[in-house]
């Protein structure tokens, strides 16, 4: 394909450029399309008109419904012509027009005729067109031909049928699944691409059957794979199989060996696919990595940019998890820093930042600075992230890295990019004490409302807080109302925490009283009053401090609801009456709407509106009134499969010395009325619990939910756990569904097995968030701090480990720390909650992932009670 490159043609004179479509106009072309209706068809002319129509569509022109229908009908006339070329254009045109169902019928018979034509080209294309425009009903008519086509001798025909099958599998899976035998046969085809398409389809048909996939894959590794594309596909299937079977296999590893053998394939596409698959295996050892890294290293010096890019991008990813494995490539990487392709250069530099040592940092930074302006924002973010992790790795280098960050902060860039920089600086300020002062100054110069909170929490603790005030007050003068308001709060915090600055702050705050915005004025007034308006250098009293800057210990949404419900009266609003439980209502509602039975939705949603409703309901039942204050009610747990005759879920109500199960039952059979509904509970696997009362449900008519209760006594204040097996008992009576009248008076006694319910440690924990974990942590103190370390065994990633511990403890994640950034090797998660007995508990979890994907966890608990701190550790130790 030697292409003589005569001259660069970009600067050719546009005037002389001739286009066959110059001055083309839709109306005129639609007029021209009338030649399709001529009794004597001129194929060449018809082809030209179709090309013009396709040109218009390709340029983004659209046809109205009427125009499209008209063109479609006249195009169908062209099936009369025997001209091959024209037929191809007709096929293309029909696909572009994507006709409606009633229009499809017009061409069906013509296309079905072509599907059985002797001309291969007709068969292949008719299949693709028909499958593109058909719906399910037509598909059953042509299914027979499609099955034949899959095993057609002509590879183009077979591929057309197989690829169409892949698309149809999304809409009509049950039909396509019937073709497995033919597809299986096509996998053995000698035609390279037929095998590729057949393999893709067969895998999709079987993808939910792990065993079948594993068998398919292992057969193919022993057979012949005829095209690089099919080989790539096979490599993907193999890594899926390895992933699913777990990384614990020992000894004989045929699949890994196959991947390694693919590294010696002749097609670069396959070598790369295999190398990438090996690097992405979970729990890959450095010995397994080495051959893959070696081939990628060779690609780094390829003359093809695509190959260099692919290799450096993969190595960059490897460097995150296994920096040591990539260090061998450092010399090749360094030469890529000056690569003409900026994407490659950026990836090379960021890889080096991850693998390099402290001494090379300054040199690399200089090189990055040179080309930062040339690269896209996406890549700039990659660089910023790399620099942040580098800075955390080599804290001594913070000065040059911080300078770099502040320089790029001043340059042009999109919001995401700037945000990444600011976030990085904030993280550095937090984690590297030396960097605090210079980082804050950099931020001051580029201040926006988003940084204010941070400045306000960190600013007063620095050596010379006064120098930041100027920057903040400048905001008060210059910015919009939202920023002004937050600037006022920030100033007040300075004032509250640094007594010597108070007089100066007061002057500034007083000026804010004349602001044009309500919120700004309100805040200024509030702060002036609470801080003691005399303006002297006095110590701020603790209450005011707590009021202004302490964390509000109730969820804001709950406070809002309570305030709305509060009716003005003599009695002042009591903040302690606001429920502290963070509502999981959106979740419960989502569950409820997924239900098949419409009758179940409303009461469930209503019932889940929180502790209030439950408390009211329970206190109305005399048996339970002596139990004291309700501590917590769980979310409903389903005890039946969806769409069974009787739908039952259970809510666990926890009291200090009792647990009540509330079974919400729904009868979904219109012909039945249930009476004397009870749940018999076997608590033999819950030793510390003793059943003391049960409250049956008199009658349960169709589609009207009702509840029955069982109460247990348990040791006071102890988080006892156990498993309970449940049996629904009732008397069933037949009714006439139209009138609801009972037909036979003597009912039948029946039993209905329900799922087990567990009472777990998390049931004794209220999810109560704190808005500022640090403050809460400091204020609770380390009197009852308990720290211990745990090994959590091998895990897929940190997210999995974090979620497991959170759900085990049933606590509220704070400050978004339940989200683990992808590929993190370590993570800190902050949890808060209230344990039974109203004991506040805070937990700090530090997770780390080692090279074998073993997760280690350090658990620090602070609470108001020694025993509770111990209990938290016991829960984790036994979970």
């Amino acid at each position: 394909m030697a292409q003589p490159l005569i001259k660069k043609d970009d600067d050719r004179d546009d005037e002389s450029e001739y286009s066959p479509f110059l001055g083309i106009e839709k109306g005129a072309v639609l007029q021209e399309a009338r030649v399709f209706n001529d009794p004597q068809l001129d194929p060449r002319r018809c082809s030209q008109v179709i090309t013009k129509l396709l040109y218009l569509l390709n340029q983004g022109e659209s046809f109205t419904k009427v125009e499209a229908t008209e063109v479609f009908f006249s195009v169908t006339k062209l099936f009369q012509s025997k001209d091959n070329g024209l037929r191809r254009m007709v096929y293309l045109m029909i696909k572009e027009l994507s006709p409606s169902a009633d229009e499809v019928i017009i061409v069906t018979s013509s296309l079905m005729k072509d599907m059985n034509s002797k001309t291969d080209m007709y068969r292949a294309n008719a299949i693709r067109v028909l499958c593109r425009i058909t719906d399910g009903t037509l598909l059953t008519q042509i299914e027979r031909y499609l099955k034949q086509a899959i095993v057609d001798k002509n590879p183009v025909v077979a591929s057309a049928a197989l690829v169409s099958g892949i698309h149809l599998l999304q809409t009509n899976p049950e039909i396509v699944k019937r073709w497995s035998n033919e597809v299986q046969e096509a996998v053995q085809s000698r035609a390279a691409l037929v095998q590729f398409h057949a393999l893709a389809l067969l895998h999709q048909i079987r993808q939910n059957d792990r065993l079948a996939v594993s068998k398919l894959v292992s057969n193919l590794t022993r057979g012949t794979v005829r095209s690089p594309l099919a080989q790539c596909l096979l490599i993907r299937f193999i890594s899926q199989v390895i992933q699913e079977s777990g990384s614990t296999q020992t000894g004989d590893r045929p699949f890994y060996d196959y991947l390694e053998a693919c590294l010696r394939h002749k097609a670069e596409m396959v070598i790369f696919e295999a190398a990438r698959a090996i690097t992405e295996l979970s729990g890959v050892t450095s010995r397994e990595l080495t051959p893959a890294i070696t081939v990628l290293q060779l690609f780094l010096s390829s003359s093809k940019p695509v190959l260099r890019f692919a290799a450096v991008r993969t190595l960059n990813k490897v460097a995150m998890m296994h920096p040591m494995a990539v260090t061998n490539c450092n010399i090749d990487m360094e030469s890529l820093i000056s690569d003409q392709n900026r994407s490659i250069a950026t990836l090379a530099i960021t890889t080096l930042l991850k693998t390099g040592n402290e001494s090379s940092v300054d040199r690399l930074m200089k090189q990055i600075t040179n080309f930062m302006s040339d690269i896209a924002d996406e890549f700039k973010i990659v660089v910023v992230d790399a620099i942040r992790s580098l800075c955390l790795k080599f804290p001594l280098k913070y000065r040059s890295l911080m300078n770099f960050l502040s320089n790029i902060l001043r340059e042009e860039g999109g919001f995401d990019y700037k945000k990444a920089i600011v976030d990085s600086i904030v993280i550095l300020i937090r984690d590297i004490p030396d960097a605090k002062e210079s980082g804050l100054l950099h931020l001051c110069e580029f201040i926006e409302d988003c940084e204010f909170t941070y400045l306000s929490t960190q600013g007063p603790k620095t050596a010379d807080p006064s120098k930041y005030i100027r920057y903040i007050y400048n905001r008060v003068i210059l910015e919009n109302a939202t920023v002004r308001a937050s600037a006022v709060s920030t100033l007040a915090k300075f004032g509250a925490m640094v007594d010597s600055l108070k007089p100066r702050i007061f002057i500034l705050l007083r000026r804010c009283l004349f602001d044009s915005d309500d919120e700004v004025r309100d805040r200024a007034t509030l702060y002036l009053n609470t801080l003691g308006g005399d303006g002297g250098v006095v110590e701020t009293d603790e209450d005011a401090k707590e009021f202004l800057f302490g964390s509000l210990d109730v969820p804001l949404s709950n406070l809002e609801t309570s305030l709305k419900n509060y009716e003005p009266s003599e009695e002042p609003f009591d903040i302690n009456s606001v429920p502290k439980e963070v509502k999981s209502q959106p979740l419960a509602e989502k569950k409820a709407t997924n239900k098949k039975h419409p009758g179940l939705d409303t009461p469930l949603a209503a019932a889940s509106t929180g502790v209030d409703a439950y408390e009211k309901l329970l206190s109305s039942i005399s048996e339970f009134s002596s139990f004291g204050k309700l501590f917590k009610s769980s979310a409903p747990v389903e005890l039946t499969e969806a769409e069974t005759e009787y739908a039952v879920n259970v809510v666990k109500h926890v009291y200090d010395g009792h647990v009540v199960f509330q079974y919400n039952c729904t009868n979904t059979i219109p012909e039945q009325l249930l009476e004397d509904v009870t749940v018999t509970v076997d608590a033999s696997e819950a030793e510390e619990f003793a059943e003391i009362a049960s409250k049956p449900l008199r009658s349960l008519p169709y589609d009207t939910p009702g509840h029955t209760f069982v109460a247990f006594q348990k040791p006071e204040g102890v988080p006892a756990v156990g498993k309970f097996s449940n049996n629904l008992r009732f008397i069933v009576k037949e009714v006439d569904p139209s009138t609801g009248e009972v037909i036979e008076e003597d009912g039948m006694e029946e039993d209905y097995q329900l799922e087990d319910v567990d009472v777990v440690a998390a049931d004794y924990m209220l999810k109560v968030g704190v808005s500022n974990f640090r403050n809460a942590w400091d204020s609770i103190g380390d009197d009852f701090e308990k720290v211990d370390e745990y090994g959590l065994g091998p895990r897929e990633n940190l997210t999995e480990a974090v979620n497991a511990v959170i759900s085990l403890l049933g606590m509220q994640p704070c400050e978004g720390t339940d989200v683990v950034p992808s590929n993190s090797r370590s993570h800190t998660c902050l949890l808060s909650g209230v344990f039974i007995g109203n004991v506040k508990v805070l937990v700090r979890l530090q997770f780390g992932l080692d090279s074998n994907r073993e997760v280690a966890m350090k658990l620090a608990v602070r609470s108001e009670d020694d025993a509770v701190s111990d209990t938290i550790h016991e829960i984790v130790a036994s979970g």
Binding site: M1, P20, S47, A160, A200, M269, K304, P305, V306, F309
Partner: protein
């Protein structure tokens, strides 16, 4: 096309193939993903692809870049710019093979005279070529010779030599 993401993990997929001129205007484009649902979105994508790659030299070897979570592989010849887009976890070399197949097939079909005016004169061949390479995102064929042959055998008159078939007579 709505199901584009369903079989994403296993099968290599092409999101679009673009053939633009030296000013970034469309010669022929084909989108296989509904990521760009309106014509305006498509034009905006073409504009950003074009501007981001304009200054690079992609004349001897195909070049590559990445943006908006997509990989774009491209190659220029005369006043034509060829692009293939795939997802960011796609094997770059597979996309490269698609681009090369398209490029080779067009070169063959245009009889080595690869420029914008020739491409527009033979737009039907270019469109058929796109149709033979990828079907709704699934790669049909990557060998330029095979693709060109599939397109050529269906030309107006199979008996006539290729050079005569391809010259369309536009009024």
């Amino acid at each position: 096309m709505a199901s584009f993401s369903v079989y994403r993990d296993s099968c290599p997929l092409v999101k679009n193939i673009l053939l633009l001129d030296s000013e970034g205007k469309r010669v022929a484009v084909k989108y296989y993903s509904d990521e760009w649902s309106t014509n305006a979105a498509k034009l905006a994508y073409e504009k950003s692809v074009f501007t981001k790659t304009q200054k690079t030299n992609a004349r001897t070897e195909a070049e590559i870049t990445m943006f908006d979570n997509n990989i774009v592989i491209y190659k220029f010849i005369q006043d034509l710019h060829f692009f293939v887009t795939g997802g960011d976890d796609e094997n770059e070399l597979i996309l490269d093979a698609v681009l090369q197949g398209f490029f080779d097939a067009v070169t063959l079909l245009l009889r080595n005279k690869v420029d914008k005016s020739e491409a527009l004169e033979n737009l039907d061949l270019i469109l058929l070529c796109l149709d033979e390479i990828v079907d709704r995102g699934m790669i049909l064929e990557t060998d330029g010779n095979v693709i060109a042959n599939k397109v050529a055998t269906s030309s107006v008159d199979p008996a006539a030599p290729l050079s005569e078939q391809v010259i369309l007579n536009f009024e």
